[in-house]
Amino acid sequence: METLSFMAAALSPLNLLLAVIGVAAGIVIGALPGLSATMAVAVLVPVTFGMPPEAALIMLGAIYTGAIYGGSYAAILVNTPGTPSAIATTFDGYPMAQRGDGDLAVTLSTLSSVIGGLVGALALLTLAPLLAQIALRFGPVEYFWLAIFGLTLISALSEGSTLKGFIGAGVGLLLSTVGVSVIGGDIRYSFGSQFLLGGIETISALIGLYCIPVLIDLVATPSAHLQPPEKGRGIRLGEGLALIWRGKLNAARSAVIGTLVAILPGAGGSIASLVSYSEARRTSKRSERFGHGEPDGVIATETANNATVGGGFIPTFVLGIPGTPPDAVILGALLVQGFRTGPEMFTTNASVTYTFIGGLVIATLLMLPMGLLIGRYAFKSIVSIPKALLVPSIAFMTVIGTYAIRNNPFDVVVMVALGVIGWVLARYGIKPSPIVLGLILGPIAEQGFVQGYLIGNASGSVFGAFFGRPLSLAIIAMVLLSVLYPVWRTYRARRLPKESEEARP
């Protein structure tokens, strides 16, 4: 009961107002590519010094939630993930917008984000200490296998030739090694340039690979960027609700995956949404429609990435280890406020923690009306703005956004160069998604492998380290399942040749 009264404290007028401001600011910041949730939170930290700790945390949490959700706008409307968590939203969100269903996609992403956010907050409220223990069981070897599991998505993400998909992922993995290496301390593939020391920034690569090709093809023809929607059909809330109801299993599974991946420090929202996307695709009856504007794809990724918000706070609060980069900033703010993370967050400081969770729930619920309103406006303006203004606006956004990630002008050059390379490669059949997958999973796979090898070597059995732990065996089983299941499905489809002939994408 005490818990409830603490949570109700989040309903005070000041806290509510802060939540509204936070969500609105978060949505705008998240929607702009390059401005990530991390940055939004970091900018706000000094503002919160003067506030009571509960209010400060509520505002930071609201901004964070809003930003993760806001990332879906840019993904749906201009094919650019506003935050890394929204990568997989581009797969189906943008095709939906292209055919004139952008309004429906935004509504779906709003509903899914609310569901995901609530599931994540619920897990934080009830299961935090238990889940934190699971997170600790994840060693280097498990991260390595998790990365391999992520790489099995290649075949799902490469339209057309899987072979080219593998080459693309290889390019991404190689790109991820540029710069000073964590293990060994070597400077790799920098070719003497000090600018490449810091490696290729993932978000600038994302912006380049996804957004620049859109721009390049946008100027080539006078035709409209997106199909305009039919007049007077509003926000299509009814349709959205029906689709969510149809995909309720998918939404529930994605929310759970999102929460679980988020408790692993070092994985993060991008991996959570990619994994739930592939699971949604693998289990769906309409799996061949994924990547061509399937609503279930948007539902899966958006529930998963908002579930990571609550999920990521679990290791942050219980262990003092940030689950995601924005959590790292919030953890810093907590320390400055004089709070010590750990079990006392749920005992001595319970009032602050539960008020914060209450605030998170309220912020998530606020996304529904605010998101639908802002989303509708965003879609309308993107559709109606003339091309000659849309192109410079998007270009401007990518340039300033890329620069702002780490205040480095050279990142903009890398972004444009990767964008052009990505456009050329896409014309020859290597799509950006496998490259991005490699770029994100590369460091996890490499560090997990070398660390696992070193630990195995020290304990006397490298084989035992990689294949002898129950958790890694479980992930290996998942890898095998996701590799063999499509093979089995094709085999069965050949045995029973029915109408599946024309379903080939």
Partner: protein
């Protein structure tokens, strides 16, 4: 920009696949070559990946020679405008540090408007676009430089003046 679920026209891709495979082969061999001076711990991963990419490239090369691969017809449109866009973006990104954020962005924005405009120019349109464009840039500049405190580049060129 049609929904791509409809069957798209396909063109022969033997030449393009073969050249793609060759380029990737060169890149992977380059990655192997440049990994020579790395420590063992740091080179395991890039070498493995480079070897795999090389193998896949050879497979792609063989497939392009033995089979008759096809690819979807690339999206139509003006090649010149595409190349101009790429040029503008590249110059813009390189000029940021020297010209500063505002000057380089204004110049590039004007180029991009002209590139992506397909209708006739009337004085009214020019004025309208100019105002909207200035507003957009001003809005973003205000958001980033003033609200978010991002230290945007001012331009090394202006400092020496």
């Amino acid at each position: 920009m049609k929904p791509s679920i409809e069957p798209t026209e396909r063109v022969a891709a033997r030449g393009s696949d073969a050249s793609l495979a060759l380029v990737m082969l060169v890149i992977s061999l380059g990655a192997l070559w440049f990994s020579q001076d790395m420590s063992i711990m740091a080179s395991v991963f890039p070498r493995t990946i480079a070897a795999l990419v090389a193998a896949f490239s050879v497979a792609l090369l063989l497939r392009s020679l033995l089979m008759r691969p096809t690819r979807p017809r690339p999206e139509p449109g003006s090649v010149a405008r595409r190349l101009w866009l790429i040029a503008v973006l590249l110059v813009w990104s390189l000029a940021l540090k020297w010209l500063g954020f505002l000057a380089s962005s204004l110049l590039s924005a004007v180029c991009l408007v002209m590139l992506s405009h397909y209708h006739a120019w009337t004085p009214k349109r020019v004025a309208g676009y100019a105002i909207v464009l200035l507003l957009i840039i001003g809005l973003f500049y205000g958001l980033f430089a003033i609200i978010l405190n991002v230290p945007l580049p001012v331009g090394l060129l202006w400092r020496t003046l």
